[in-house]
Amino acid sequence: MNNEVLSAKKFQRDAFSALNDIQLRRNFKRAMDGLMEKRQAVFTDAEKWQQLRELGRSIRASALRKLPDLLEKLESNCRKNGIQVRWAESIDEANALVLEIAQRHDVKSVVKGKSMVSEEMELNHFLEQHGIEALEADLGEYIIQVDHELPSHIIMPAIHKNKDQIAQIFHEKVDAEAHAETAEEMTALARKVLRQKFYEADMGVSGVNFAVAETGTLCLVENEGNGRFCTTLPPVHVAVMGIEKVVERFEDVPPLLSLLTRSATGQAITTYFNMISGARKSEEKDGPHEVHLILLDNGRSRIHSDALLQETLLCIRCGACMNHCPVYSRIGGHAYDTTYPGPIGKILTPQLKGLHKAGHLADASSLCGACVEVCPVKIPITDILLRLRHDKVGDQQTITLAKSGGWKAKIERMVWKSWAMVFSNPKLYRLKSLAIAKMGNLAPDWLPILRNWTSVRSTPRFAKKSLHQMVREEGISDE
């Protein structure tokens, strides 16, 4: 069996077991309801919200249009500021760059701020393979790291767990003596443990929320202060960023920041908005001696080459699409088995990894459009889903997703072709209607084509007479 079939089957299995996990369903429902409510409370003026997202979309779209120029400008301004810039086409290249910097400084331990690109790179795992401890310092990321799990949400990584489950993890894996049970006690314990790690760390790693081309500034959005620790205290700071994150001007930042924090968690702003424009200068007393910026492509330039698919790159990673997604909120983030779950993951992952590996994700949507309605930069997620579904079975291999194929796609393509033929030929159509009326109800529930539907619903019965037939019997023309 090929990759796609295997991953599709795994997805179905995982989604099914998530649906049957009452605790998980409860945890997600509670969290998603809360996030939706908070977001709603900060976007009370519909007109202003529309204007703001229109502006946000324009800023991002115009940056994507000028992307190569802006990246060059960012590079040159960062260099002027003393930030060293490297480029990586693949995650392997990006990981190698991080490792090279770490080894040059004889780094033993790394503290990390929350970064989805570093998750995409599986950087922790990579560094640990090379004998370097990489510790997540965002509380949610820390919780799931000590429990050897992966994030289930891009903003709230440990959202799938409730307080008692987390207390159990703290008891078993952090400090049994501490008896940390409430959120306050656990937070205090994590503060104590992680402050020691910040104190000792040789290198800090972070992501980038926005990079400003005209000033060479890396902007980071956070509430906890771990991002500031990682980018300020250790002698070396490495920032990893997808190439799409650049904006042209500093004045582009305030509207995007406003859209990001409000859409993500319903906050007017986060506790810290950290703008880094350089390493420590000789007269300064703190800040890293070296700041490195790694620009990662990993398929993004390929996505950029298609007008519709390019809109995927508008994303500012607020997570509102997942909070509002009826599928995500029921199956949770892990079932997707991807770095980016939920609606944005369903369009981004198949494009990053290829339809042959993750094409099934484009099917995991009812196309209800809730994500499109809340997206702060108006990404046409449902259009892109349809496009991916089409590409997966279409005759023409599209430029962006060349590796599509496999026998499942071939079968699906054949089915749709036959379908089109039957529905465009009156004789065949009538024959089909007749066959269904006579034989349709004989089809057993366990047929592969029916099974997914009938396992949780009663089997629909076909009528003995078609609508055409009944209308004709009434003496009305059915043409």
């Binding site: 509670r30 996030l35 204007q51 502006l55 324009s58 800023i59 115009s62 249009r65 190569p68 990246l71 480029w87 990586a88 086409e89 290249e93 760059l97 310092a137 509380l139 949610g140 919780i143 709230m156 409730n162 307080k163 656990m186 937070t187 994590a190 503060r191 402050r195 910040f198 005209e214 000033t215 509430n223 906890e224 202060g225 771990n226 500031r228 620790f229 300020t232 205290l233 500093f250 004045e251 305030p254 920041l257 968690t265 007017a268 702003i269 986060t270 506790t271 810290y272 908005f273 950290n274 703008m275 880094i276 424009s277 200068k281 007393k285 703190d286 800040g287 330039s301 950029h304 080459s305």
Partner: protein, 222 residues
């Protein structure tokens, strides 16, 4: 050509090969300009925004801020206070300490690079810094860190006392960036700080004081 250089070349040439859309992206900034408060409203609104996220805002004047600071020190039992060097604030603090050593904590300068100051910063009760301004809309303080008031002063000590002058309060972040022309040059580290550090990562329960400071006190001088 090393890997990074060849990657750079390939990425940029891929991006340059993308079809260029002729679509214009008009940027209507009306929505960014609308928010405006009077001077009196600014102070009250900023205070209320900041208090919503557990910041203590103490309104004071040029003549009584010193006693407000003494009150804060006493209430919080601050025995050691970290301060920046060569600022007007530093001089004032030193004077206060000299004149009334009983009501002022022991003062520590952030004088040596962090490599030699780690234990000082991790062990001290509180820090006090100036600010560059405030933002009403989001309830934020603007800090541009300097050699005299370095970055970690507002992060490591559990209590951060920030001195804000009412005449430096802006309506919005957008107004700050444009009025002060941030595009013409930035410090190595600029910050917006809107409250003590917080997290909601455990069951969405809001807890203050995770990695950064646990308490933020603003002396708002009118």
């Amino acid at each position: 050509m090393n890997n990074s250089t060849s990657a750079r070349h390939k990425i940029l040439s891929n991006l340059r090969d993308s079809p260029v859309s002729s679509e214009k992206y008009p940027q209507n900034i009306t929505v960014m300009k609308r928010k405006c408060w009077t001077d009196a409203e600014k102070v009250l609104q900023l205070k209320s925004m900041m208090e919503e996220v557990h910041t203590e805002v103490r309104l004071c004047t040029e003549s009584d801020w010193e006693s407000t600071l003494r009150t804060v020190v006493k209430e919080k039992g601050i025995g050691q206070l970290l301060y920046g060097i060569k600022t007007v604030l530093a001089e004032q603090l030193l004077n206060m300490r000299q004149q009334t050593p009983d009501t002022m904590p022991e003062l520590f300068e952030y004088e040596q690079p962090i490599e030699e100051s780690k234990d000082l910063l991790f062990g001290i009760d509180a820090s006090i810094t100036t600010t560059r301004g405030g933002i009403v809309e989001t309830g934020s303080l603007i800090l541009w860190t300097t050699p005299n008031e370095p970055r970690l002063m507002s992060l490591i000590p559990p209590i951060h006392i920030a001195v804000l002058h009412a005449d430096t309060i802006y309506n919005t972040f957008w107004e700050v960036v444009n009025t002060e022309q941030w595009n013409s040059g930035m410090p190595t580290n600029a910050l917006l700080i809107s409250g003590p550090s917080k997290t909601a990562d455990i069951e969405q329960t809001l807890v203050y004081g995770v990695h950064g400071c646990k308490e933020l006190v603003v002396l708002l001088i009118q």
